[in-house]
Symmetry: C2
Subunit: 220 residues, 2 copies
């Protein structure tokens, strides 16, 4: 949440996010088609969002962690346009969107914050489009790992190791790859001494090498 509010304003913000909701691993926070009422601020846990088409194909559109906001896909049609599934036991703050809008009109800093969050999501999706449209498997995985590390690091965790919350298949779905290809890319990085992998645990041995794969030309 943004800074720079007085006591009275903080009170209103507090009231807005009063309600909590627990979501167990594997459970849905919301489903595509559900009536949209609220945005959700993740307090703890880890989510994936995904869209599906009728023939069963699924595209993971994002992975979200503590401190991030989900649900903005629902604003345009008053119904959710993707599914949000907890990848580990999670707790979210429920923020009724009508209240967010009301309060935004009173508090320019909140208004600005909401706009930035939505804009950030648009920009993030732009880079995923670049990734899906232009990058090769190993570049995609390197970009993915670096992004996760950066976000975890911003939360005070190590920038050299992480525990993946998702399966190879889910990573593949996000990256537009099959799970076998993801597995092979992990193995390749491991053979080259760039990372150490033991199932979901990943240790980064050579972050520079990862960055070089992600962005080859800056090193030529």
């Amino acid at each position: 949440m943004p800074a720079g509010f007085n006591v009275d304003e903080m009170k209103k913000l507090d009231d807005m996010v009063e309600k909590r909701r627990r979501v167990k691993q594997g459970e849905l926070l919301f489903n595509s088609g559900d009536t949209f009422t609220s945005l959700y601020a993740i307090r703890t846990g880890f989510f994936k969002t995904c869209v599906t088409i009728e023939d069963g194909r699924e595209q993971v559109t994002g992975f979200q962690m503590a401190g991030e906001i989900i649900g903005m896909d629902g604003i345009v049609t008053d119904r959710h346009n993707c599914n949000a599934i907890a990848l580990e036991d999670a707790e979210v703050c429920v923020m009724p969107f009508a209240m967010v809008e009301d309060l935004s009109r009173e508090l320019p800093a909140l208004q600005r914050h909401v706009h930035k969050i939505m804009s950030r999501e648009i920009v993030r999706e732009n880079s995923v489009m670049m990734l899906l449209g232009n990058m090769r498997a190993e570049e995609r995985l390197a970009a993915f790992l670096l992004n996760l590390l950066q976000r975890l690091h911003a939360r005070g965790l190590s920038q050299s190791e992480l525990v993946l919350r998702m399966t190879r298949e889910e990573i593949g779905s996000y990256l537009g790859l099959k799970l076998e290809t993801v597995s092979r890319a992990f193995s390749k990085f491991s053979e080259e001494g760039i990372i150490e992998v033991k199932q979901r645990y990943v240790k980064i041995l050579a972050p520079e090498a990862l960055k070089k794969i992600f962005n080859p030309q800056t090193y030529f």
Copy 2:
């Protein structure tokens, strides 16, 4: 722009979009890195937005036509995060974002409208991710054509013919394909009698066949 405003409110909205800007074909409306100040409502013309990486790779992230809003990528960092280029001579309304925010606080209907526009963009990008991650070349092209047709039809134009404003290469960049692949898919559709193509002119002979390609399972 949204409906349901009184005379006084309409006046304020009018003032907000007072300034116009002409952009000639091939010119930039804004560039990645430019300071963000305004959203732009396209009055006439046709744009593409794209992101680039240092080694020259480019990803077209969208095509925008009259009535659509661009520039929301700039809100999060106060700098634009993509390029917007006119594909034909265009005119836009400049909407200083500070004014949009000010007025949004007064006019809930405008506030809601802004939120919906941003949410719509998020949802659109979700479907592009599905397209890039899961669909084959012909499905992508069918989806692309159907989407263009639907948007043109909503503007009172034919739903059975269109003139493309972009090159095969730009279509390919948007769809994560090379221009040759796009060309071959056009030729294939043409051979099958689904469309008639003469350069940028496209006539849809069998819309149902296109929908079937885009979404095979609903017809089995």
